[in-house]
């Protein structure tokens, strides 16, 4: 459970950093996501193996954070997207390994679920 929480926190952090990067610092969404992903890729540890799964969670979170401000309007909404994404990420972690775009698909799924919940479809 503790390990899963760390991965969810990494996803949330990636999502928020990327979103703030392109909303507050006026970076493009691509640059913001790349910066978060590049910095996140150095989050590794030999002592705690669970930390080694954080870079992927951070990068996936950064994709979710690429949403435009028209879709995510408040901190609560951003946190909701990130939380849904984190849970989706740990649920799909052991599937589709090595297939490009998996992290983005997780991010898209979380954004889509949030969008549908927000619009009252679910």
């Amino acid at each position: 459970m503790k390990n899963k929480c760390i991965v969810i926190i990494a996803f949330v952090a990636g999502c928020m950093l990327c979103f703030w990067g392109h909303e507050w610092f006026s970076l493009s969404a691509v640059v913001s996501s790349c910066l978060v992903g590049l910095l996140g890729s150095f989050v590794t540890s030999k002592k705690y193996p669970i930390v080694n799964s954080c870079p992927a969670a951070i990068y996936s979170g950064s994709f979710a954070g690429m949403c435009s401000a028209t879709m995510i309007k408040s901190f609560g909404e951003l946190f909701s997207v990130a939380l849904i994404g984190g849970i989706t990420y740990i649920s799909l972690d052991c599937y589709f390994k090595g297939i490009g775009g998996k992290l983005g698909t997780v991010a898209f799924t979380s954004v889509a679920i949030f969008y549908l919940l927000n619009k009252g479809f679910l």
């Binding site: 890729s41 090595g98 490009g100 954004v111």
Partner: protein, 140 residues
């Protein structure tokens, strides 16, 4: 459709990421983010009439390149990029502003070819096993 250059940008992103991710101390995440940042920097430095959304196309291509070597042979990369190109210009406008859309496109482009790659391997393995069995019966 925007012509050949966007497709080449996607392919370039995929090939560079694919090559770099197999190096030691790199890995798919670092290579994808690094090459995309370098490409954005190159775009800023070189005053060329880049196609619209070139950075996004390259970034999407780099997701395709994040595929594992065992999942996607490098010969399938161009086909995957072509599928992504079609996705980007046909489906992309409908999911504009939604995070992860590029990744979804990459996943949908890599998935079918990863399946073809898997089936080909399965077919080759079956043939190899059959040949081995034939050889062993001939030797008897």
């Amino acid at each position: 459709m925007e012509g050949l250059l966007p497709f080449l940008i996607i392919l370039f992103g995929a090939r560079v990421t694919f090559a770099l991710s197999s190096l030691r101390h790199w890995g798919p995440i670092r290579s994808s983010s690094f090459v995309s940042l370098v490409f954005v920097l190159v775009m800023k430095l070189i005053p060329y009439h880049w196609p619209m959304n070139s950075d996004i196309l390259f970034f999407g291509g780099s997701f395709i390149g994040m595929s594992g070597v065992d999942r996607l042979s490098r010969f399938f990369l161009p086909f995957s990029c072509l599928l992504f190109y079609l996705f980007f210009y046909n489906v992309g406008p409908y999911i504009k502003g939604m995070g992860g859309g590029l990744g979804l496109g990459a996943f949908l482009s890599v998935g079918p070819l990863a399946l073809v790659n898997y089936l080909l391997h399965l077919y080759r393995d079956r043939d190899r096993d059959r040949d081995k069995r034939l050889d062993s019966t001939e030797s008897i």
